[in-house]
Each structure stands twice: as C-alpha cells, then as structure tokens.
C-alpha cells in the first residue's frame, strides 16, 4: 500500500519550529553577533571582526582547558564503557533480582548534577567525609582541595559513579534483545565464554554501545555542574574544563565577545563530533 504524501503536513511542525527558533536559534544568532563585536556595557557594541576568534584560537588558557577536557572525556569513556558492559553482562536476566538491579542501577541517574557534586564534596572531605577521613586515617595522602591528582581522581570517580549505570542499562537492553537461539547455537558449538561475548553479545550491543559512547562523550565534553560544585575548577586551574572556563570568561569577567567566540568554537567541535557519531550510528543501522 502506498503511503499518502502531503507536504502541507510540514505546516503542522511550525509551532515546534517557532519554539526552537526562540529557545535556540535566536540565542545562537545573538552569540554570533556578540562574537564579532566588543562591548563596555550599556548595550553599546563596537565592531571587532574576527579578532576574538583569533584570540581564542591562540589562547594558551583555552588550549589547556581543551586538553583537560579531552583527557577527562577519554578517561571516563575508558572506564565507564568497559565497566558498564561488565555490569550488564553480570546482571540477572530475569526474576525479582533483575528488577531489583535495574532499580538500583537507575538510582544514581535520578540525582541532580549539583546534588551529586555536593554529595562527593562532603564524601571526600578529610575532616568529616567518609572517603576523605578514612583514606587519611589509613595513611593515604588525599586532599582534593589542594592536590590536583586527588581532585582529578575524585571527579573521575564521581562521574563513573553517576553515569556508568546509563551505559550498563543501555548494554543490558541490548543484551536482552538477543534471542536464546544464538546462545543455544553457541552451546552446541561449545563456544567459550569469551567467544560468546566476542561474536554474539558484542556485535549485538554495537548499536546501543555507539549511543552510549555518544551520550557519555557529549555529556562529559560539556560537563560543568559537578566539577564546579566539587572543586570550582581548582586547585589552581587543574580541573577547569571548557565549560567552567567559558562561564568564568562570560559571567565572571564579562568578556562577552571572546566568550561568544569561544562558545561558537565549542559548539562547532561538539557539532562535528555529533555528526560523526550520528553518521556512524545511521551507517550501523543501515548495515543491520
């Protein structure tokens, strides 16, 4: 049966387009306008051309923040993806325990970002926090307030605690969709556990894994609230990621022009990475 095609149906999406225009498009256009100008307040702007973009591209401070951001995203992906797969593989497939595990796994995802930051801020304190106090009593030098390595470890562990569940739940959904016939065939062939994982489970999880990597990469690349609450970007600039640096520039220093240029470049980087992931995902969908 042929599907009826009526291009006038596009008019039905006009309200959504209007909403997107006001919530996303117009602010983005304003940012572009600001990125080409300079202001000293009072809503008076002066033409600056591409000066701010040149400054941002050459800025050592922003390059350092970008380096930290990439390192952070790479670190959490390297931990959360294998850990999420491992948890999903070991979760019960059916029964009461399956439901229980699903609820427990979903709990960290329900906690707001700023609350997660506060929980870990208190948890890691050496005077009253369970983690900080215990480590100090065990003779381990740990203080995320003045030690950059401790601050990094705390932020990474916090992110792993908060978001590994998402990866695990996505992988679990992927695993649940594998028909039993595959496992039965593998059993008949006396395939090892590793081979079952390598040739049945991993290929079947590929689609959801790509989504998990995309979601976690995007979210970690734009992370702001949790490290801001936990360390405020410190000690020094040790945990100042791109978004924290951007907010410092735009709101703290009120450098609207450079901040606008910075945010546009940030946006472009995220756009290109999203496009690559989207292309890979749709390509994968076509192959299936």
């Amino acid at each position: 049966m042929d599907k009826p095609v009526n291009n006038r149906a596009w008019f039905l999406v006009m309200p959504v387009l209007a909403l997107v225009a006001f919530s996303a498009l117009l602010p983005l256009m304003t940012v572009v306008n600001y990125s080409l100008q300079d202001t000293f307040g009072g809503n008076q702007f002066f033409w600056a051309g591409l000066e701010w973009f040149e400054d941002v591209v050459h800025s050592d401070r922003i390059r350092a923040a970008l380096g930290r951001q990439v390192l952070f995203s790479a670190s959490i992906l390297a931990i959360e993806i294998p850990l999420g797969i491992f948890i999903a593989l070991n979760m019960p497939k059916k029964g009461v325990w399956a439901s229980f595990c699903l609820v427990v796994m979903a709990l960290p995802l329900l906690i707001p970002w700023n609350v997660v930051g506060t929980i870990w801020q208190v948890f890691g304190r050496v005077d009253i926090g369970l983690l900080g106090y215990t480590l100090t009593k065990l003779g381990i030098s740990y203080n995320y307030v003045n030690d950059p390595i401790a601050a990094w470890i705390t932020i990474i562990v916090m992110d792993v605690w908060h978001w590994t569940s998402l990866v695990a739940l996505l992988c679990y959904a992927g695993l649940q969709s594998i028909p039993d016939a595959y496992y039965q065939a593998a059993k008949i062939d006396q395939a090892s556990r590793w081979k079952v994982f390598r040739y049945i489970e991993l290929p079947k999880m590929q689609g959801v894994l790509l989504i998990a990597v995309l979601l976690r990469f995007m979210d970690s690349f734009m992370i702001y609230t949790e490290p801001f609450v936990l360390t405020g970007g410190g000690p020094g600039n040790a945990t100042t990621f791109l978004s924290i640096d951007l907010v410092k520039m735009a709101v703290g220093q009120f450098d609207l022009g450079p901040a606008a240029a910075f945010s546009l470049i940030y946006f472009l980087v995220i756009l290109v990475i999203s496009f690559v992931f989207y292309t890979l995902m749709t390509k994968e969908g076509e192959a299936l």
Partner: protein, 132 residues
C-alpha cells in the same frame, strides 16, 4: 503542483532579495558613506551588524534553495568517498561545517583577513558536492 511549488519558491527568492536590499538600507551612515560594520540598531535587541545579518540571510537562502531543489529534482542518497549515504542537504551541511573549520585553522595559522580561507572553503565545498 510542480508549477505552484516553483512559483512559491520563486516568490520566496524575491522576498529574499528584497530582504537583502532592506538590510543594505538599514546600514548606518557615517561621514556621508555607509558604515558597513556599524551597529544597525544601536542599543537594540541582538546587536545586529550588516555582515552578521548577511551571513544568516545567505544561510537561510541556501536552505530555501536546497529545499526547492529537493522538491523539484528529487534524488536518492548516493555513496561517495566517505562511504556514507549523502543527499544534497548532507553535502551542504558537510561543506558549511568544514568551511567553518577551514576558517578557524586559517585564523590559527595565518590570521586575518580570511579571504584565502574562503577560497579554500569554496574549493572544499565543490569537492564535497562532487565526490562525497
């Protein structure tokens, strides 16, 4: 149907050109000549300047043009050198996104002005439309 669509998009093209003419008229005057980089609405909403307004108008014009092309000359996605299925719209997106990065790299390596980057971006866009 095809004729009415073409007439509709033709009218949109006329509106687009009229809008550009209106933008030119909005450019502020300074010392008897047009100040192309001056504020078009001093103290007003969104801090508009002519170059930024022209940039968005061209993007909007390209979107309308490619919508018309998609309706008037329907196509099936093709697989190019990147190994991905792409339509004209996808190639436009890849061209615009790549051009933005070409300009940024130019700014980082050479600096302003970016006319050289614009030439490279145009060559890049032509290559994308031919081979991607």
């Amino acid at each position: 149907m095809q004729k009415s669509v073409t007439i509709g998009f033709g009218l949109a093209g006329l509106v687009w050109m009229g809008f550009i003419a209106w933008l030119v008229m909005q450019v502020p005057m300074r010392d008897g000549s047009r100040d192309w980089f001056g504020s078009m609405n001093p103290g007003g909403w969104m801090a508009w300047t002519f170059p930024a307004a022209l940039f968005f108008t061209i993007i909007a014009g390209l979107l309308v043009l490619f919508t018309w092309l998609a309706i008037r000359f329907p196509e099936t996605p093709r697989k190019g050198v990147l190994g991905i299925n792409s339509t004209r719209g996808d190639r436009l997106f890849i061209s615009l996104l790549g051009s933005a990065f070409i300009c940024l790299i130019w700014l980082g390596v050479v600096g302003t002005p970016v006319w050289g980057a614009l030439v490279i971006a145009l060559i890049y866009a032509a290559a994308v439309f031919r081979w991607v």
